[in-house]
């Protein structure tokens, strides 16, 4: 689907979705965390969208706003269109529903984000660290992360 048509259909189906216009060149919408699972299911299952592939999932630490912005990049191998999902969660209580029941690859992506940012995923089957040692303290990609090893210019 074309960008405008795609966004229109999505906002009609998911009333809570807000279209992001600034700083993006692909269709992008923002969702409240609570609506993520049903929206993910809709985007995956509806024949018009058929977003059957989660290309990437990552996070941005927006420390000035006190939020983590979670990014989901979706792709449809049927229609070859893309969609960016953005979900903002509170930095103090970063809990979001997992989308791993919709896209199974999300299990690994979510483990990575948990490892480096400390975002917690509800209903994730196996939320462990992915890269760092199991006894690592803290989540190093948070902007306020410091440890004894790290050199900073103070």
């Amino acid at each position: 689907m074309e960008k405008a048509a795609l966004l229109e259909t999505i906002t009609a189906l998911i009333p809570n979705a807000k279209v992001i216009e600034e700083g993006v060149d692909r269709p992008a919408i923002e969702l409240p965390p609570a609506h993520l699972p049903e929206a993910a299911k809709l985007l995956h299952d509806t024949d018009d969208f058929a977003f059957d592939m989660l290309c990437a999932h990552t996070a941005i630490d927006r420390i000035d706003d006190g939020k983590f912005e979670l990014i989901y990049q979706l792709y449809s191998t049927k229609f070859h269109h893309y969609l960016m999902l953005s979900v903002k969660v509170d930095r103090e209580h970063p809990v979001v529903p997992s989308v791993s029941s919709v896209w199974r690859i999300a299990q690994w992506h979510e483990r990575e984000v948990y490892d480096l940012f400390g975002v917690l995923y509800d209903n994730h089957p196996d939320l462990r660290r992915l890269f760092l040692e199991d006894d690592w303290q803290g989540h190093p990609l948070r902007k306020d992360y410091r440890d004894d090893f790290m050199l900073t210019m103070e």
Binding site: L132, P140, K143, D147, F149, L151, T152, M153
Partner: protein, 217 residues
Amino acid sequence: MGIEQTAPAPGDSNSNFLLTTLDDVVSWARKNSLWPLTFGTSCCAIEMMMATGASRHDISRFGAEVVRATPRQADLLIVAGTIVKRMAPVLRRLYEQMAEPRYVIATGSCTISGGPFIYHSYTTLRGISDVVPVDVFVPGCPPRPEALFYGILTLQKLIQEEETIGKPGYRRKPVTAALPPNMSIDEIKEEMAKLLEQQAIVKDPLKGDSTEFMRGR
């Protein structure tokens, strides 16, 4: 005897004639058949592949083109790239598995000091000399293949000049470059810190303005 007169003068007085010559021959063979281990961790590895694999910079001119995929058959470890905390034990184990005498060339500023990842990195090692003993450092980010070759030639020179059969792998360690006159390491560090701050390359996002931090990048 005539043969003694034409022989090269022995390096130290208590080694005998036959041994010195053998030393020379063995060192000559050794230095011209360095077998590197296939090992590369990031961008420097691409440059090293240019040197070892590509036709333009032909590493076999120096007899070091037999890149082995197992440490047990290799005697030269070219550490090309960033080493992080999780890679360090692996690197050490590979080094220990290599046949003696073994040599280490470290290429790139990452292996010297942590390079571009020296600040605000939770995992990049600031130099690898704590993990493996390095014979030759090749600076650059990444060093050009010519620089790597210069490193190999330097290593060959070290092997030829300083090794004996009795002490394989013995070199004057570590190899350090001379500082400019009238300057101390601390002064250089201070100057670097000032420059970095001036250009706003490194700013603490907690203290300063974090948009400034992004822009400085």
